[in-house]
């Protein structure tokens, strides 16, 4: 497994942060007189993506910061729980906090609690409304929505009729990814939005929803976008069962392995690759820097678009990523 993680490290953060390893190893030696304690507050533990980020942190800790004490907790997608966890770790006087916010708006209070106690906060993956964030690591959900929808419209027939499946309504991922969709659709007046609805985070619900859409709009939908690959699995099955695989363009986000295989098979048009492992490792890197009182700034990792043309590369990346994650989960 040593070679695996090595391979992974060179695969993901390498492209974006060639300097990742060096400052961290110096961090480890600097802080020898007092062990640094860092807490990572993750939004939930049931989506693969959170696991990738978490694995990235563990991997970084193991490779570059073995002295750092890292506590990871999960908030089950409940902002109140996340705030409680924030309070818990602030009262433990940790040196820095990595916050993977459940919600952009609702995380602000939690950030402020840490700021008030003088603890630096690195937000990870989802931004926070608070002014007091030390630095942000990740990408922009609006961007992901735009990228996916643009690719779909590019591959779609003329005057496409579009549908999309939302994640849980009001969730930051839903709010901003659908904002991205709508911005693209507004810029493409020839595309018509037929219907959109939520399937929460559930493939089963998406399956039933799309089955029902296909009853209502027989031959009336050309494109179905989804805000997550967990949702996409249901859409795939519905489209396949209706014999419309390849005829209706569908897309998701996160590049889950089953979805990548469907991209290769031509059933799915695209998915968005987000470097979770890289986000996680860099968040820990910045957190250690900040804990030592060094100045840190935002670290953005752009999304990558995965289509049939480049899917093999992402299948390799995903394999490595999954193996890494299954080491820790």
């Amino acid at each position: 497994s040593g070679s695996n993680s090595g391979g992974n490290a060179s695969n993901s953060p390498a492209a974006n942060s060639p300097s990742a390893a060096s400052p961290a190893s110096s961090a480890a030696s600097d802080s020898s007189q007092q062990q640094l304690h860092i807490a990572a507050l993750m939004q939930g533990n049931q989506s693969g993506f959170v696991q990738y980020m978490t694995s990235g942190m563990y991997e970084y800790q193991k490779a570059s910061a073995p002295d750092v004490k890292l506590d990871v907790v999960f908030a089950d997608d409940d902002p109140a729980k996340q705030q409680s966890q924030m309070e818990t770790f602030v009262s433990q006087k940790v040196d820095a906090i990595i916050l993977n916010p459940v919600d952009k708006v609702q995380s602000a209070a939690a950030v402020d609690i840490a700021a008030k106690a003088g603890i630096p906060v690195i937000t990870l993956n989802t931004k926070s409304d608070s002014q007091n964030v030390t630095a942000h690591v990740g990408s922009d959900d609006v961007e992901a929505g735009k990228m996916q929808m643009e690719q779909l419209l590019k591959d779609a027939p003329q005057n496409p009729r579009v549908a999309y499946v939302d994640a849980v309504l009001g969730h930051s991922a839903q709010v901003f990814r659908s904002q991205g969709y709508n911005e693209v659709l507004a810029a493409h007046p020839e595309a018509k939005l037929v219907v959109h609805d939520t399937a929460d985070w559930s493939g089963e619900k998406a399956l039933a929803l799309v089955e029902n859409w296909l009853q209502t709009y027989p031959n009336g939908i050309d494109v179905i976008a989804t805000e997550a690959d967990v949702i996409l699995t249901g859409v795939i099955t519905a489209v396949e069962n209706a014999g419309l695989a390849g005829k209706i363009l569908i897309a998701g986000m996160d590049c889950d392995m089953p979805v990548l295989e469907k991209i290769k098979a031509g059933v799915v048009d695209n998915s968005i690759w987000q470097d979770g492992v890289g986000q996680g490792s860099n968040a820990l890197r910045l957190a250690i820097e900040a804990a030592k009182g060094n100045k840190v700034s935002d670290f953005l990792i752009p999304y990558e678009l995965c289509t049939k043309d480049n899917v093999d590369k992402y299948i390799e990346l995903a394999k490595a990523r999954n193996e890494l994650a299954s080491k820790y989960f």
């Binding site: 309504l169 939520t198 089963e204 859409w213 009853q215 999954n322």
Partner: protein, 329 residues
């Protein structure tokens, strides 16, 4: 169906009417919804859509029969959703041809899925019966445990790559009728036979209605409880397995909130929380009602935000119509 019911409404002042209604319970509310939907949307009453709805309710319907039996006995099962996930995952791991699976014969997958559900049910039942802890707490515990196990077994990742022999029971049809529907019908017949023709079924009613009396009549109450939980667990396991086959994948996050839908199906069908009362037929109608409401709203294109308001109101109204007319109110 519409005609028939109008006929009934015409005879509203008939003396037998009340009895007819009280015996047919929720049927009236259901028929009202059916009539409304067939008038409101042309796609509702076509054969395709009917098969569609039936297929959508099949898996959860199996769980409804299971939990309905438990509620009749004065029990409950909150672990349905996470048992769905766990059985989907265990069955999936057996058959999956991907890296995460063993690629065993589909039959083994199905057996393992059902067995998993049965074991979970058996454990819940055993604790409920022996330790006399309220079923609500016990199954809240197993709910959490099963979700955790599903995540652990699957390393938090969705599992796909099922062989066609396995997805067959989820996606294929026997003649015009999809397999999930056929399996659901078999479950209904089994439920009816158990509850009405077997002594065990009568004991389940007796325990639910008056546990002391049942004990005094020489019934081994603990044995009845464990048996009911075993049976219910097997049905939930079957539901989870068929669902995985239907989705052609399983995720540890699957089935969140299914317990509520399953319980709702039973309760709308007139099963009483205080135990001892409830018919298999009405549980089926309750299940269909929820399925039809969901389907109907998708067909009507009710807007996402309003959907929940409409759904909630319809459920209350449908039951209201039933109880009002049957003179139970």
């Amino acid at each position: 169906m519409a005609d028939n019911s109008v006929g009934v409404a015409g005879r509203i002042k008939n003396a037998n009417y009340k009895k007819l209604l009280s015996e047919h319970g929720i049927l009236i509310g259901f028929v009202v919804i059916l009539i409304y939907l067939s008038l409101a949307t042309p796609n509702f009453l076509n054969a395709n859509n009917i098969v569609n709805v039936l297929r959508q309710v099949s898996c959860i319907g199996m769980a409804t029969i299971g939990v309905g039996i438990l509620i009749v006995m004065g029990g409950i099962d909150l672990a349905i959703g996470s048992t769905f996930a766990l059985t989907g995952i265990t069955a999936g791991i057996m058959v999956s041809q991907g890296a995460a699976g063993y690629g065993l014969h589909p039959i083994i997958g199905i057996i393992v899925g059902i067995a998993t559900g049965t074991i979970v049910g058996g454990i819940s039942g055993w604790v409920v019966a022996k330790a006399r802890i309220p079923a609500f707490i016990v199954t809240m515990g197993t709910m959490s445990i099963c979700r955790g196990l599903a995540l652990i077994f699957a390393h938090g990742m969705p599992i796909g790559n099922f062989p066609s022999g396995f997805t067959y029971i989820g996606s294929e049809s026997l003649g015009p009728i999809p397999w999930p529907i056929i399996i659901f019908v078999l479950v209904i017949i089994f439920g009816y036979y158990l509850m009405n023709k077997r002594p065990l079924g009568r004991y389940i009613y007796a325990v639910g209605s008056n546990e002391d009396a049942a004990r005094a009549a020489g019934i081994n109450v603990n044995k009845v409880k464990v048996a009911a939980y075993l049976i219910s667990g097997a049905l939930v396991g079957l539901g989870g397995t068929v669902l995985a086959a239907r989705l052609k994948s399983a995720a540890p996050s699957m089935g969140v909130g299914y317990e509520l839908d399953a319980i709702a199906g039973a309760i709308i069908g007139g099963v009483s929380f205080s135990g001892g009362i409830g018919k298999i037929r009405d549980m089926v109608i309750g299940t269909l009602m929820i399925g039809v409401i969901n389907n109907g709203m998708d067909l009507l294109g009710v807007e996402a935000f309003y959907k929940q308001v409409v759904k909630g109101s319809i459920i209350i109204l449908a039951v209201l119509i039933d109880r009002k007319r049957s003179g139970r109110a």
